[in-house]
């Protein structure tokens, strides 16, 4: 038997290593760009090993900040999950309810966070509370929209079946509408998971507790950029990126747990 081939004709093992190959290629290209910069421009782009050194030097500060930001992101995200689900249930009640509330949902989404932040700081003060609320505001919309769509897309014949079996409204919601909305719910969750760490960093940047020692990655960004610590800035960006990956991986794991047995998106026979 030959090695399993993918559609592109490459053996699967080669395909798996391709991302590493491109990664190494990019690091090489990075060094090339660094070398070609003139001496007075060199500070603009730290080389990969300078970033690595910043990781080691700033390690405790970075991981502490990542923990703060991750905590804020998780709280805001969790709040958005709970409230968006409840709100989506409410919106799914009737087209009239949706028509009455959708415009305001849009307004909430269109209002720039940068403008809301100072208001929030005045209302609840800087620090974790503001960070959580900003994260919540960013995550809420995609989750409400997706979950609502799922709740109102239930197979009409299944609804008819439930009606013929004299199901109560609650039985219809719990046994039919909510489970059939799960794939949509997880789509919203996945979008929100990529947004949550970004929201928390932005929140921390504009409304974080810059006075105390409880800053997150946004606060570090302010410090490092004011000191032109380019290596440390790059390291901060990488940690933020890692945080995003952790969130998305968590959501993918959750959706696998909830859906893999029955949903086609996890079907082994499909490619």
């Amino acid at each position: 038997m030959s090695a399993p081939k993918t559609r592109s004709g490459l053996p699967a093992i080669v395909r798996r290593f391709l991302p590493f190959v491109t990664g190494i290629g990019m690091i090489v290209a990075w060094y090339v760009v660094c070398m070609s910069l003139s001496a007075d421009q060199r500070f603009l782009l730290p080389s990969p090993h300078e970033v690595a050194r910043a990781f080691v030097d700033k390690g405790p500060a970075l991981w502490g900040a990542a923990l703060n930001t991750g905590g804020g992101a998780l709280l805001g995200f969790g709040l958005a999950v709970c409230l968006s689900f409840a709100f989506a249930l409410f919106l799914s009640l009737s087209p009239l309810v949706r028509a009455s509330f959708y415009p305001y949902l849009m307004i909430l989404q269109m209002t720039p966070i940068i403008v809301i932040a100072p208001i929030l700081i005045l209302w609840v003060g800087p620090g974790l509370k503001s960070v959580v609320i900003i994260t919540f505001l960013i995550c809420f919309f995609p989750m409400v929209v997706n979950t609502t769509q799922g709740l109102i897309s239930t197979d009409r014949n299944l609804v008819a079946l439930f009606t013929m079996c004299k199901a109560t409204k609650w039985q219809e919601i719990l046994l039919l509408r909510v489970p059939s909305a799960l794939p949509y719910f997880f789509t919203g969750l996945r979008i929100a998971a990529t947004l949550a760490p970004i929201g928390a960093i932005v929140g921390d940047y504009i409304a974080g507790n810059s006075a105390g020692g409880q800053g997150g990655l946004g606060f570090l960004t302010i410090i490092y950029s004011s000191q032109f610590q380019m290596g440390a800035l790059f390291a901060t960006a990488a940690v933020g990126c890692l945080l995003g990956f952790i969130f998305v991986a968590g959501v993918i794991a959750l959706s696998w747990l909830a859906l893999h047995k029955w949903h086609d998106s996890f079907s082994q026979s499909d490619n």
């Binding site: 079946l161 199901a167 029955w262």
Partner: protein
């Protein structure tokens, strides 16, 4: 044998249907079903065959006229009816057994009693060994069998089948037709069946009601007197073929009449 029951189990009297201010879909539909009848509704698309099933099921109200189901208004007779949809209409997140017990669960029956009924219903459709499968692991024909088992789980007196085998290949469809009749020999329900296939209609029913379209009206009724149980041999016999040709001719004339 069951004693002769003079009262029809389902009766439609001058039934009209229109949705909102839309055009008339059904115009003065009237027919009555005796207990044990297998009635197939056939006709060009847009003749309102499926609508008639929805009206009998009580899912939609009539616009005029009256339907009586076992002495009751359709909306009050839902426990006596089961509906089999065009699609299998299963809950994909539930196993085969859990799908079959959905109606029982909604009616509030006990888990122990449910398990027994589920086993029996699945045995009837030959899927007793697929209890713990998820719908996506089944073929189209198997899914339809689960759907039928679910409909049977409530021991209905009337079965409404809306083109249940339309999406299946001919072999599977023939098989399921035979199985459906075999089940009917054991559990005597009255059936209303909608299909586009004349041969399916002739094979299954003792009465075929031909409808014309725009608006839907009863055009004629054909009695099919081949004795039950019917088998593969019935389908291959010359009188059967002749009957199929005859009904097809009526159907063609109806389609010419109201294109």
């Amino acid at each position: 044998m069951r004693q002769e029951d003079p009262l029809p189990i389902v009766e439609l009297r001058d039934v009209d249907k229109r949705y909102g201010d839309g055009p008339l879909i059904l115009d003065k539909i009237g027919f009555a079903a005796k207990r044990g009848d297998f009635i197939t509704l056939i006709g060009p698309s847009g003749c309102g065959k499926s609508t008639i099933l929805k009206l009998i099921s009580g899912l939609n109200p009539v616009s005029a006229g009256r339907i009586v189901v076992d002495g009751l208004e359709p909306a009050n007779a839902v426990e006596k009816l089961s509906f089999v949809f065009q699609e299998p209409t299963l809950l994909p997140w539930r196993t085969v057994a859990q799908n079959v017990e959905v109606p029982l669960r909604l009616h509030g029956s006990e888990p122990v009693a449910r398990a027994e009924v589920v086993r029996k219903s699945l045995a009837l459709v030959g899927l007793a060994d697929r209890m713990d499968y998820y719908p996506r692991q089944l073929s189209g024909g198997q899914k339809m069998r689960v759907s039928i088992a679910r409909a049977l789980s409530v021991s209905p007196r009337i079965l409404l089948l809306d083109e249940p085998f339309g999406a299946l290949d001919e072999m599977t469809r023939d098989h399921l037709n035979e199985e459906l009749l075999a089940i009917r020999q054991q559990l005597a329900w009255t059936a209303f069946f909608v299909t586009h296939s004349v041969s399916e209609a002739v094979f299954l029913s003792n009465r075929i009601i031909v409808l014309s379209a725009n608006p839907g009206r009863v055009h004629s009724e054909v009695r099919v007197d081949f004795p039950y149980p019917r088998t593969e041999e019935t389908r291959e016999s010359a009188p059967f073929q002749k009957m199929v040709a005859e009904v097809s001719k009526i159907l063609r004339s109806v389609e010419r009449l109201h294109p």
